[in-house]
Symmetry: C2
Subunit: 219 residues, 2 copies
């Protein structure tokens, strides 16, 4: 029974890893805290200090794992934006493996519909919609957040999609396809204008998929 | 020389109209102050008190002219959104007067291009872009602001456009046309993703106008 053993002496200099809150899962805890903080308060108002408090760690540990606020945001965004990582498979991974088809356009004739359905699916579920909305809010409110968002989109989506599209202006066309879907999301889920806000998914797919296909395949 | 005449006694009860800052142009001054306040601080953080301070009037006068904050925002939005009031003429006022044409679709074959050029023009100029961006920010950040935005769009644009479009789902189609343009604006002017952000207007018109036309005219 060493109840009167001397307490460990740790108050010199930087906090020990244990005092700092490090331990199993500290990195994941910080990341979850960062996502919550950015979602609730937006990029502008979020702070490393508040993230550390939520994760119950020392602010220095947040910096140790992720760097400054911009990089914490980028790491959080990568998680919130995870559904977008699947876009290349959604676009190119049609029924027929091996890609191709569709008159040398690089996409088969079902790509526009798959992409439209996938994006609507992500926005229809509150679980995936809310983090996305938080990202949109931060990007609209803050130039630095917009730049990080842009970098993540380019790295994780555009760079993996556009080289596989055939025809001229493939990058521009991919972005215009996404623009149609982003606009639908803004009007349907953010502004909530009728009848778009209450239209059935099939109704929207019927009108939007051909347009998305047109952009992807080239006119 | 009545320098020692008694000062006017006005401190009883409500401030006089003059003390409140009323006078020629007070309403316009308040409206300009409101637009500035909402643009700079967003719907959430803007306050009647701050608007009154900017306009150099009594807060009661702001309420007298416009009502509560939601209604001040709506009045400011109507001004910032003025370019959108012209959309019906842009869509239907083509070269050939009398409307019609285009196989009974309600729009002539140039409508999609005119609408695309007009929207890009509004966003290309900082003078018209900045107020619009401020509105988008407020709508994205705040549900009440989004509801007011929606009401203004429906009243001033959709209700004047969709009854003149032929074919089924005219309202939905009008919104999908706008969605394509809203998405382009978001990616080009807010997220600034390349190559869309630096593409020439003609390049964008060439790819987007046919899609907008398709929505307006019905497939």
């Amino acid at each position: 029974m060493s109840t009167d053993a001397p307490a460990p002496r740790r108050r010199r200099g930087r906090p020990s890893r244990e005092d700092a809150g490090e331990g199993p899962g500290a990195r994941e805890r910080i990341l979850a805290a960062a996502r919550g903080e950015f979602a609730e308060r937006g990029y502008d108002k979020a702070s490393i200090r508040a993230i550390a408090r939520r994760a119950d760690v020392d602010p220095a540990l947040v910096h140790h794992y992720f760097g400054p606020k911009e990089q914490v945001f980028e790491a959080a965004l990568e998680v919130d934006f995870a559904p977008a990582m699947e876009l290349p498979e959604v676009i190119f991974g049609g029924a027929s493996t091996g890609g191709g088809g569709g008159a040398g356009s690089g996409v088969d004739e079902g790509a526009g519909e798959r992409l439209t359905r996938y994006m609507l699916g992500v926005w229809e579920s509150a679980l995936t919609r809310e983090p996305l909305l938080a990202v949109v809010r931060s990007a609209v409110n803050n130039e630095a957040a917009a730049a990080i968002f842009r970098r993540v989109v380019v790295r994780n989506v555009l760079r993996r999609v556009t080289p596989r599209l055939a025809g001229p202006d493939a990058e521009l066309r991919a972005e215009l396809a996404v623009a149609q879907l982003v606009g639908v999301a803004m009007l349907r889920y953010v502004v909530k204008v009728e009848p778009l806000a209450s239209a059935g998914v099939e109704e929207i797919v019927a009108r939007v998929a051909p347009v998305v296909q047109r952009h992807l395949a080239g006119a």
